[in-house]
């Protein structure tokens, strides 16, 4: 049984023409890092917020650790969340921000102090415990937000475009830091992004979404090299779309302009003689001058 199970989740906002999320089925295993990838407005945030409890699903169920969490209030779910805008409490210093969840949870002072110290070490900001959020850079603020979410030892970590507000260089280093912290703690993580590079480089599995629907779920390699829909093919990476004639589905033989090529794997769902669409990534076409195939 998966750690997090979303079954037939659907969300229709009041007065909305179309559902924000529909037919959403996904199982996330314990310790797995899953990304929701898709263009703006495709329903990533809405899905994440339903998991966190800030939105109620119109129908469907969300089960975490064998327990249906749909009726549970957000402050009882024990899920950590990181927001795009950091959402640090401006009236508290870094240490108090990180310790906030423990404090409202009634933990003792020494216990809070120890955990905050651990977290500061984890995000490598030991020196900045007394600083206020407005005295930190965006990247530092987001690390504090991450530490604050993790400090309560959540069963699940949710991140909603945590790097979007940062500049490119920091985005890259913080991305790696997030991944290494996630590996270190083994915490089950759902990560929302519209940046395909981010999703592909971070995740165990990527969920590509479009218009409230899941287009494809798979490991980054699959998503990148074997997109199952035209949308995924065009959204993920730069590529060229070609109309081809299928010669032999079993060997992956196809024909373009009378020339025969081979795709890397058999073509399921296609019959010989059919016209199909392939997506070609620049840089991965190989030629074999002396083989039987060319």
């Amino acid at each position: 049984m998966a750690f997090l199970e979303l079954t037939n989740v659907r969300k229709v906002f009041p007065n909305a023409q179309t559902p924000a999320v529909e037919d959403f089925n996904l199982n996330v295993n314990a310790g797995e890092f899953v990304s929701f990838l898709g263009p703006s407005g495709c329903g990533k945030t809405t899905t994440l917020r339903m998991i966190a409890g800030f939105e109620t699903a119109t129908s469907g169920s969300i089960v975490m650790d064998g327990r249906d969490i749909t009726p549970i209030r957000p402050n009882q779910r024990n899920i950590g969340m990181v927001f795009q805008s950091y959402a640090l409490f401006p009236n508290m210093n870094v240490a108090d921000n990180i310790g906030f969840g423990l404090k409202v949870g009634g933990k003792s002072k020494p216990e809070i102090k120890e955990r905050v110290g651990e977290m500061l070490a984890l995000i490598k900001l030991e020196e900045l415990g007394n600083r206020y959020p407005y005295q930190l850079s965006g990247g530092q603020q987001q690390r504090v937000a991450l530490a604050r979410a993790i400090a309560i030892r959540p069963q699940l970590l949710l991140l909603d475009e945590p790097l979007s507000a940062l500049d490119a260089k920091i985005r890259l280093s913080l991305r790696n830091e997030i991944r290494s912290i996630q590996r270190q703690l083994g915490i089950t993580t759902v990560y929302v992004t519209h940046d395909q590079e981010e999703a592909l480089s971070l995740s165990d599995r990527v969920v590509v979404m479009n218009r409230g629907l899941i287009e494809q779920v798979g490991p980054p390699f699959e998503i990148y090299n074997f997109p199952t829909t035209e949308f995924v093919a065009s959204f993920v990476g730069t590529l060229n779309l070609l109309k081809v004639k299928v010669i032999d589905p079993a060997t992956g033989a196809i024909q373009v302009d009378g020339q025969t090529f081979f795709t890397g794997r058999p073509l399921v769902n296609h019959a010989a003689g059919e016209t199909a669409q392939i997506a070609l990534r620049p840089g991965i076409v190989q030629s074999r001058q002396h083989g039987a195939r060319r």
Binding site: A52, N75, S85, F89, P90, N91, F100, V104, R148
Partner: protein, 290 residues
Amino acid sequence: MATTISTAPRRHFSWVWLGLTPFFLFAILFILLPSTSLFIDSFRDGQGNFTLANITGLTQSPIPESYWLSIRISAVTAIFGGILGFLLAYSRASGNLPRWLYPVTLTFAAVASNFAGVTLAFAFVNTLGRTGFVTAVLKGLGLDIYGFGFNLYSFLGLSLTYMYFQFPLMLLIMVPAIEGLKKEWREAAENLGASTFQYWLRVGFPLLLPSILATMLLLFGNAFGAYATAFALTGGRLNLITIQIGAQMRGDVLHNVNLGYAMALGMVLIMAVSLVGYTYLQRISERWLR
């Protein structure tokens, strides 16, 4: 004839400055010039010679008592008006009120916060005065408020009257301040396990506190400078500093206009102190709520 060509980059004329001209003109004409002349006149006698007599005159009874009375009434109405206004703004923000109340409360606040002077005094005399409507109704119910020692023309009565414009002003300023709290702060707190009460106690209220205190200082200044309401309500019975100044200017008593200037200068200084406090608090608030 030699001509020099300026190589300095030509500064573009900015329309922003033109737009600000009325503001600067206004500030110079009605703030800077009067304050300067007030300052100068405070150190002059009737013949225009330099003197410290006006300043030392400020320590003569009843002037210190008048300052103190004005400060007390301003502080009391700022604090209670502030608390009441904040609570109303808060309950508005909690979203549990009937829908029709939302625009109604704001419109009322906008009107009431500007309702002062003779009309306000008249309204209170008509309701809570010795023969006022509410007084009569209460008396009919067996509650003789004047019999219990209430008096509209007293400290308590004037405070009640001031409350009429104090709490709506607080409400008017706190509504957008509360709306300025980011939704993410609330959600982050909730996500970390905080109850609604814990959120307000540790995040919402502390974040608003600088604005609350700053607005209370504004209310203080609002009441401190009020003259017409007090004069219309109590005549000269309550010796507020503004009423004292008015008396000096009109020549009711000794008619020492320069002493009046010195008294006004004292008011300006007290206002300036509260303005410094206001600015300081606003700056904290801005840094946080940016």
